[in-house]
Amino acid sequence: MTTTTMPREGAAAPGPASAGPIVTVDHLRKAYGPGVGVQDVSFRVERGEIFGIIGPNGAGKTTTVECICGLRVPDSGMIEVLGLDPRVHRSAIRERVGVQLQESALPLFIKVGEAMELFASFYRHPADPAELLEALGLTAERNTYYRRLSGGLKQRLSIALALIGNPEIAILDELTTGLDPQARRDTWELIEHVRDRGVTVILVTHYMDEAERLCDRVLLIDHGAVTALDTPAGLAQSAGGGTHLRFVPSIPFDIRVLTVLPEVTDVAREGQRVWVTGTGDLVSAVVRALEAAGVQARDMQVESATLDDAYVRLINGEEAQRP
């Protein structure tokens, strides 16, 4: 729960070139050892959105995106990326999909500028390396060896390399792991810029604040299967989070004034304080009802359910049902 987190509005407006989903995954299955991998995952990514994939470690997030970019061949199921089959059109998809993988690195004896030139040369229509370095604040590091970069700078270079081919889709896996809070915020802003330039972003993360801040829609995967797919706000609501508010009334009042409201699900007193739980436009309903009863609400604090709550509920619910 974070204080006064406003829910985001609805799903992403599809981009101008919207013609069906840009990525379709249908009943994907990819097994490794016992209990690992992806059992049954289906979803669609719309053009121009930031699509989040969240879930606990080992849930199958990375396997899913590796199948999308053609690094792994699914055991069964259908994947279509930009209307192409990653198994058949490997190089065409690599040309148009930029990838930032977790646990990937660059040769130790390469400089930042050299790495950009090298990766640019693999693509037919690359972005300008100098421009991209500028956008990521790496211009000063042009001549720095990769192995001398800090974790944050390595991560930024990794993002730059994912964008160097001018991709239509950028797949970013564990984007901000290991970054300090300021670097995370900068990176988030950068991803929003990328999306504003028309790139569809698929973001794998296990940080709920990141998914909540960036993603238009979020896919929750657990144990290799889809647990939920919705907007961050939708997920937070559907998990029964609702809104909580508390205040100190100016005069004593009968709490039935509040319990009769359709928005209110629960009211409790704790010393002077009153706690109200509910859904929908809870705050104005409560304030209006109190005003009608001649009560002023002091020190009012509002808490909205967050994706974090929804995540915990959904994952734990799953655990509880498991034999």
Binding site: A17, L71, S91, E103, S104, S121, R124, E168, R197
Partner: protein
């Protein structure tokens, strides 16, 4: 970032390969393992051997001095060190750290990574051979190989055979440590059979027979013959070619990104 009209089977541009080659060349100069081990060490040995008076005598059963007989062995050693250390280690460490995985997400095909590494190390091996032969001729009284064509053919086949073995290590080793151990374990017997420590005539017939089918012994025999003015015998040439083909094909078949 607009949608380009890309044909469904786009081939990556060839300048990508040249950039990759440039990158491998830079690495070979910035972390000069191959230069130090494969070029400097054999050249130092050449200088040391040239200063040993006993080696100036004519070798038994040969028209060459014992010093001259060591030149093919040193060439074999140089090629061996380049093939077993300088060739595999960078690619294997790139596999371990995830560099190859990163490349696998780009349009660059895996064959480029191997090809660039082979070209850079091939150049290193040629440099080593030229320095050893030219240095021997210019400073230490070595005669130019009388059968030039045969000598060049033998040297190239020696490189091909040893690179075949090195490439198989490149394709299979999971870590640079494993590659290093395998390379070292192979290095000593190969050099032993080539006559690094004992002239081959001193070995038992059984060991001599085994030696005939090791790549560096075959290389030494072929280059030795060419230096004496004969075209190299068929068997050592075939032995080297067989190593190149069998190990090279296996390496390409078994190559792994991760």
């Amino acid at each position: 970032m607009t949608a380009h009209t890309v044909p469904t089977e786009a081939r990556p541009p060839s300048r990508g390969f040249w950039e990759l080659l440039k990158t491998e060349e830079r690495r070979a100069l910035r972390a000069p393992v191959g230069l130090l081990l494969g070029v400097l060490v054999p050249v130092i040995l050449l200088v040391i051997f040239s200063a040993i008076p006993g080696l100036k005598q004519v070798a038994p059963g040969s028209t060459l001095t014992m010093f001259a007989e060591y030149v093919p062995v040193l060439i074999g050693m140089s090629v061996c060190l380049i093939a077993l250390v300088s060739l595999p280690i960078p690619v294997v460490s790139d596999r371990q750290t995830g560099v190859l995985r990163r490349f696998a997400t780009t349009p660059a095909p895996p064959s480029w990574v191997l090809a660039a590494q082979v070209i850079v190390n091939f150049a290193l091996a040629l440099i080593a051979i030229v320095i050893l032969v030219a240095g021997g001729v210019l400073f230490f009284g070595l005669h130019m190989p009388a059968q030039w064509g045969g000598f060049v053919l033998s040297a190239l086949l020696c490189i091909a055979a040893m690179f075949g073995i090195g490439l198989l290590i490149t394709s299979l080793a999971r870590s640079p440590q494993v590659a290093g151990v395998v390379g070292t374990v192979l290095l000593y017997p190969l050099l032993f059979f080539a006559g690094m420590w004992t002239p081959k005539q001193n070995l038992s017939p059984a060991l001599q027979h085994i030696g005939n089918y090791t790549p560096l012994d075959a290389a030494a025999q072929a280059m030795d013959a060419a230096m004496q003015g004969h075209f190299p015998p068929t068997r050592p040439l075939l032995v080297m070619a067989a190593y190149a083909i069998v190990f090279g094909v296996a390496a390409i078949r078994l190559f792994r990104w991760e």
